[in-house]
């Protein structure tokens, strides 16, 4: 009895390892194709479209940050636009006042936003669910005011205009394409880092805290430390995205960082899939392109469509595009793989 059970279990396990590797191969292939497309694409598109894709990737990094906090750790933030602004202003002030080269501003922006996130996350430990949403909402609403108030640093209402970076001459790329590749590299690094973090011990701790904080604590997870860490990492990613936005657009002003920016991130996150890494890219596309199309209908249409999409996704596809399609895709690949082995 016991022996058959064990044999059964090993058979099952064997099956699973085989299928997992086949899914793994498919995933690698898929990523490789996507990266190849991402490298070729800018040479086939107009400058303006390349710029738009760069924006998509920037939003994707910001949404990725929000996914870590909200999707994996279950802490709701309606104020990530504020951290995006912090990253953007850190980069802008470093470049404008201190003449720091643009590529060197990413690390300081990341550090500043990590520290801000941890500082914000510490009192946030005591807030659950809607309360944290409230505090972060308040921050998002107050952000433009604060930026205007400290005008010796932020340039007040006028903001800061930056010199756009020049591409290294030996590459022979124009500015928009160079910035595209610069952001692409940052995005790939960010996704890799996020995957390493979330698929390991830390990620499991994040998810455990999201699903059942008390059980997680009982299993020896230091909930306070991991929640603060989730906040810090999340704002770090979003801050880097903000810095990239400042570099690529070459301009920062308080009115670009309103509550609606924070809500855009939340929508992007919900559309792509909250607890996914790849979903962030779909979120980025959504944030960049949907307002463009909707603007043709009316000034107010983008937000109406945003709102309707949010409701629709929550009712029909609460796990977002990637969260819904991903498991289905993996399942199909698995069946495809085992069918092929059976044929052999």
């Amino acid at each position: 009895m016991a022996a058959t059970l064990r044999a059964d279990a090993t058979a099952k396990l064997g099956m699973e390892t085989r299928s997992v590797t086949s899914v793994g191969v498919w995933r690698w292939l898929g990523s490789a194709v996507l990266i190849a497309v991402a490298i070729v694409l800018p040479f086939t598109l107009s400058k303006y479209h390349v710029f738009q894709l760069t924006q998509v990737m920037i939003y994707a990094i910001a949404v990725l940050g929000l996914n870590i906090l909200t999707g994996y750790n279950g802490q709701i933030s309606l104020g990530h636009g504020g951290f995006f602004a912090a990253g953007a202003y850190t980069a802008a002030i470093l470049m404008h006042r201190y003449g720091v080269p643009y590529w060197a501003t990413l690390v300081p922006a990341a550090l500043v936003c990590f520290v801000l996130g941890v500082l914000f996350g510490l009192p946030a430990l005591r807030f659950e669910g809607p309360y944290l949403a409230l505090v972060t909402l308040a921050m998002a609403v107050a952000m433009p005011q604060l930026l205007k108030y400290f005008d010796t640093w932020t340039g007040g209402q006028q903001g800061i205009t930056l010199v756009k970076p020049t591409p290294p001459p030996e590459l022979g790329l124009d500015r928009d394409r160079w910035l595209y590749f610069f952001v692409l590299v940052v995005l790939l690094v960010a996704m890799r880092l996020a995957a390493n973090l979330l698929n390991g011990r830390t990620g499991r701790a994040f998810v455990a805290i999201r699903d059942h904080p008390i059980a997680a604590a009982a299993m020896g997870i230091n909930t306070a430390r991991y929640k603060t860490l989730a906040f810090g990492t999340s704002t770090l990613f979003t801050g880097v995205a903000g810095a990239l936005a400042a570099i690529v657009i070459g301009f920062v002003a308080p009115e670009s960082f309103t509550l609606f920016l924070s809500l855009s991130f939340l929508i992007g996150s919900a559309v792509g899939g909250l607890a996914t890494i790849g979903g962030a890219i779909i979120g980025g596309f959504f944030i960049e392109f949907v307002p463009n199309f909707a603007n043709d209908i009316s000034d107010a249409a983008p937000w109406a469509i945003y709102g309707l999409t949010m409701l629709l996704f929550m009712y029909v596809m609460p796990r977002g595009v990637i969260g819904t399609i991903g498991p289905w895709l993996a399942h199909t690949m698995q069946r495809f793989g085992s069918a092929r082995r059976a044929a052999k």
Binding site: T70, G74, I76, L78, P123, R126, F127, G129, P130, Y131, A133, L134, V135, L137, A138, M139, V141, A142, Q145, L146, K148, Y149, I214, L259, L263, L266, A270, L274, S298, D299, A300, A301, P302, W303, A304, Y306, G307, L308, T309, M310, L311, M314, Y315, P318
Partner: protein
């Protein structure tokens, strides 16, 4: 001294508005355990309805009553259609859904009425009273809020429906066993909240001028008020609203530049949540594991 009293009275008038909106938030929180981020924009939309009616030539108070009725029905419909499907969903879903509602109301108002500022008629003349200590408008706003509070109190205290609504909010299972139509009561709660919000919107519109983003700041103060008073307590919402109104006015006048007023709300929210998370009158939530 005179200026201080003046500031306190105008703070009380602003506070009465915050108190109304906070009360609406508390009603929804008690009924459906959910923070309604769309409350401010629902109120703004109601105010636009009132504005349309007044512009169509109706007398102010007739427009006021019709708006309240429309908002009441609208609130009930929102509960039935939008909120009911996510009643037992995780908090995140509920938050995202109310944010979705916020965007829809905001954008629809912008679409129909455009984003330009509109003047909203005040039902009360703006005359100084008691040696310019306060204005008739302030007194009017406070009076309307008081009347509404007394009416609500009487409704919940002395009518069978009010009792059933309290029962449904406090213990849905037992209420259902006693024959209370819990679902209907929750919808009523949303209806009341929408109507109360409409009062707040109409009272504040003559001061702030009407535009689709009018209520963003007011909503923030209302949240602060609700948290300060304890988000489960209607009395707390009112007291919290008045305290926040006066604090905002005094701090804005004497301590810091008025362009940082919203930051004051942020700091107040954080202080309340850190120092007294259940607020002044709220009850601690005990969760069974």
């Amino acid at each position: 001294m005179h200026q201080l009293l003046q500031q306190i009275f105008s703070g009380l008038a602003a506070g009465a508005v915050y108190a109304s909106l906070a009360l609406a938030l508390v009603m929804i929180y008690r009924a459906t355990d959910l923070v309604n981020f769309a409350q401010g924009d629902m109120a703004m939309f109601s105010t636009y309805i009132a504005w349309t009616l007044v512009n169509a030539g109706l007398p102010f108070w007739a427009a006021f009553v019709i708006t309240l009725a429309v908002s009441f029905v609208g609130g009930m419909l929102i509960e039935r259609i939008v909120i009911r499907p996510v009643e037992n969903a995780p908090i995140l879903t509920a938050v995202v859904v109310t944010i979705g509602l916020l965007l829809i109301f905001n954008a629809t108002a912008g679409w129909i009425y455009s984003y330009t500022l509109q003047e909203f008629p005040s039902p009360f003349p703006d005359r100084p009273l008691f040696g310019a200590l306060m204005t008739t408008r302030d007194v009017g706003v406070i009076a309307v809020t008081l009347v509404m509070l007394v009416a609500l109190f009487c409704f919940f205290r002395f009518t069978a429906t009010g009792l059933a609504m309290r029962a449904a909010a406090q213990n849905p299972e037992s209420a259902r066993l006693c024959g209370v139509r819990v679902g209907r009561m929750l919808a009523l709660g949303w209806g009341f909240a929408a109507a109360i919000g409409a009062v707040a919107g109409i009272m504040v519109a003559p001061v702030l001028f009407l535009d689709p983003n009018m209520m963003a700041g007011v909503l923030l103060y209302a949240f602060t008020a609700a948290l300060l008073g304890g988000i489960t307590s209607p009395v707390g919402a009112v007291v919290g609203g008045l305290i926040v109104g006066v604090t905002e006015n005094l701090v804005g006048t004497y301590l810091i530049a008025s362009q940082l007023k919203l930051t004051v709300a942020l700091i107040l929210i954080i202080l309340v949540l850190v120092l007294k998370p259940n607020g002044l009158f709220g009850t601690a939530v005990v969760r069974r594991v």
